[in-house]
């Protein structure tokens, strides 16, 4: 609980050195902003040749062929959405379970260290996730998990083909693991922000711990939890290395999770080395599409999380 702090006001007289310092710091703060958004503009200029050639049809083009120089983004948009969707499907229930445990059930002495260990998952570099997924997760998924799903979901289009392990399913699972720290810690924070009076009210009516959590905590914090999931989605959309290493790299659209695929970011990582001319321009345009999607998702998430975190003062300090 931070008490609101008084704002100091100035008489308006400040020395030259003071003004110099303030404007100098301001200039530096603004320089990053101008630089980054200027570079986004530069990216758009670099993508211009591709845009001129393919127009808006680039988004729904299904071919990616460097020989005939016909490029379209749909297979990669599709791959990104499918793997991220799978990641959300697996990662979110786990993360909410973790957040409930850390926020409501864990004894106080466990809470802090355990939160730290869960957040360590975010510290592991993504290329190491990829390496591990290649040699530990992939064999496990190919031998145990995929045959299991094929045995009773084999009739759906999602599980057609052979269990190899270098496919969208493995990529989705590794993404799920990678978004857990984000979703769990933001959800936990929003649950901690629920006033204790809510819990006390439910408990005093004779609710069990589980019922209290469901009635008082989860429903109160639901917009924050939803925002956390969207934040996790933003992570999953942009993740590159671990996906590149596990998805199998095939530039085609297929609904089956057991087929190899490609996401927007993994395509850029794979093709960057040999891309030239119009292909390079098309890759940059794909990067731009990824950027816009991630930006919209993040803005939306901030809106949702911001609504519940309003209680925590975000401004205040300073002179």
């Amino acid at each position: 609980m931070r008490a609101p702090r008084s704002r100091l006001t100035f008489s308006g007289r400040s020395s030259g050195a003071d003004r110099l310092f303030e404007y100098g710091v301001l200039a530096i703060a603004l320089s990053t902003l101008v630089l980054v958004w200027g570079l986004v503009l530069q990216m758009a200029i670099d993508a211009q040749p591709s845009f001129d050639r393919f127009g808006p049809g680039f988004i729904i083009g299904t071919q990616w062929n460097p020989n005939t120089e016909i490029f379209g983004a749909l297979p990669f948009i599709f791959g990104t959405l499918l793997t991220s969707g799978l990641a959300i499907l697996i990662g979110v229930p786990l993360s909410i379970g973790i957040a409930v445990y850390l926020s409501e059930l864990a004894p106080p002495w466990v809470r802090e260290p355990l939160s730290f260990v869960v957040e360590l998952l975010a510290a592991v570099p993504s290329v190491i996730y990829g390496l591990w997924a290649m040699y530990a997760l992939r064999p496990f998924i190919a031998h145990s998990v995929e045959p299991f799903f094929m045995s009773f979901l084999g009739w759906t289009p999602l599980f057609q083909g052979n269990a190899v392990g270098l496919d969208k399913f493995t990529a989705g699972v590794i993404l799920a693991i990678m978004i857990i720290p984000t979703v769990a810690s933001v959800s936990k924070e929003t649950m901690r922000a629920v006033p204790d009076s809510q819990r006390e009210a439910a408990l005093s009516l004779g609710a069990t711990r589980y019922e209290t959590t469901r009635i008082a905590v989860l429903s109160y914090a639901r917009s924050g939890i939803f925002g956390a999931c969207i934040l996790g989605l933003g992570r999953a959309l942009g993740e590159t290395m671990a996906v590149t290493m596990t998805i199998g790299n095939a530039n085609k659209i297929s609904w089956s999770l057991l087929d190899p695929g490609q996401t927007m970011s993994s395509l850029i990582a794979n093709d960057w080395g040999e891309a030239q001319g119009i292909q390079l321009s098309a890759l940059i345009e794909i990067g731009l599409v990824l950027f816009i999607v991630a930006l919209v998702v993040n803005l939306f998430a901030r809106l949702m999380v911001g609504r519940i975190m309003k209680a925590v003062p975000t401004t205040g300090g300073g002179l």
């Binding site: 710091v25 409930v100 409501e104 510290a123 570099p125 390496l131 590159t240 990824l290 300073g318």
Partner: protein, 295 residues
């Protein structure tokens, strides 16, 4: 069906499920650490850490140039990113109680959530395309610096917010100019938080791979020139992870072990350092409370 026994059972089941989620999430972490240490440790030797990568997997090959490359990339990125991030944080915390401050903070928060490959594209647009530098150490450091700036500025801002206003008022009341107050009183008092943020951002950029793939590229030689491609630990892993050669694969695991040791030791070190600080802070706070009770 809504008997007490039934509700209690449901409660137990739910608690158990929540605990199970925690355990399921910790399995990958433990498994990754275990596997990287177990597979990577046999690769480690003095020669492995000091020789350069040739790329054939022959005897006496090492990852020395990749270690040097990662250190150089982090060094130059810190050189550019740390001052900018620090000053941005100072602006937002000390002068940013207005529309400009909110705007800067908002866009920095957005920048912190950009996909890292997009940052690579931005650095490519600047250094490789606009400045005509080519794939280089400089391009890689710029990419990492862009990742570093919002992290450092956010943590600096938070750290300076923790400095009590009474210190600002005290310094100003003594006639200290405002800029001196900021640099000599506020920054010095918030220093542990600032250092924490800087270290965490270093740990974060040391493991970044995708932006380097687009900017610094890779080299199997000892190169420390700003205008040439450079090797790095993450890219050594990425180049060798799928290699049919056992020796090259072993190199990837060795590099992974070195990288994860760097990243985790910074993270855990900062954590231990911070815990000591909070204990100290609490001690000071309690001591002050007792003082104020007396007066």
């Amino acid at each position: 069906m809504n008997t007490f026994a039934y509700r209690r059972m449901k409660n137990r089941l739910a608690s158990f499920a929540a605990l199970a989620c925690v355990i399921i999430a910790l399995i990958p972490l433990v498994y990754i650490l275990f596997m990287v240490v177990k597979t990577g440790a046999p690769a480690i030797s003095w020669g492995f850490l000091t020789n350069r990568t040739v790329g054939t997997g022959g005897p006496g090959e090492g990852i020395g140039n990749a270690i040097l490359g990662t250190l150089l990339l982090v060094f130059y990125a810190t050189l550019m990113g740390l001052p900018i991030g620090l000053l941005t944080g100072i602006y937002v915390s000390e002068y940013g109680n207005n529309k400009v401050g909110y705007t800067v903070r908002f866009f920095n928060d957005l920048l912190a959530n950009f996909p890292s490959i997009v940052i690579g594209l931005l650095a490519y647009a600047l250094v490789v395309n606009l400045l005509q530098f080519g794939f280089s150490l400089f391009a890689g450091s710029v990419a990492l610096a862009i990742i570093m700036i919002p992290i450092v500025s956010n943590t600096t801002e938070e750290a300076l917010r923790m400095v009590p206003n009474s210190l600002r008022e005290g310094a100003l009341a003594l006639g200290v100019p405002r800029w001196k107050t900021v640099l000599k009183v506020i920054l010095v008092n918030g220093k542990s938080g600032v250092i924490t943020g800087a270290l965490l951002s270093v740990a974060r950029i040391a493991g970044e791979t995708a932006p380097l793939l687009l900017t610094a590229f890779y080299s199997s030689y000892w190169s420390s020139s700003l205008s040439e491609p450079v090797a790095s630990l993450p890219l050594t892993i990425f180049r060798n992870y799928n290699s049919p050669s056992k020796e090259l694969l072993q190199q990837a695991w060795g590099a992974a072990l070195v990288l994860i040791l760097i990243v985790l030791s910074i993270n855990i070190g900062v954590r231990l350092f911070l815990r000591n600080r909070t204990v100290k802070r609490k001690v000071v706070k309690n001591w002050k409370q007792r003082l104020s009770l007396r007066t």
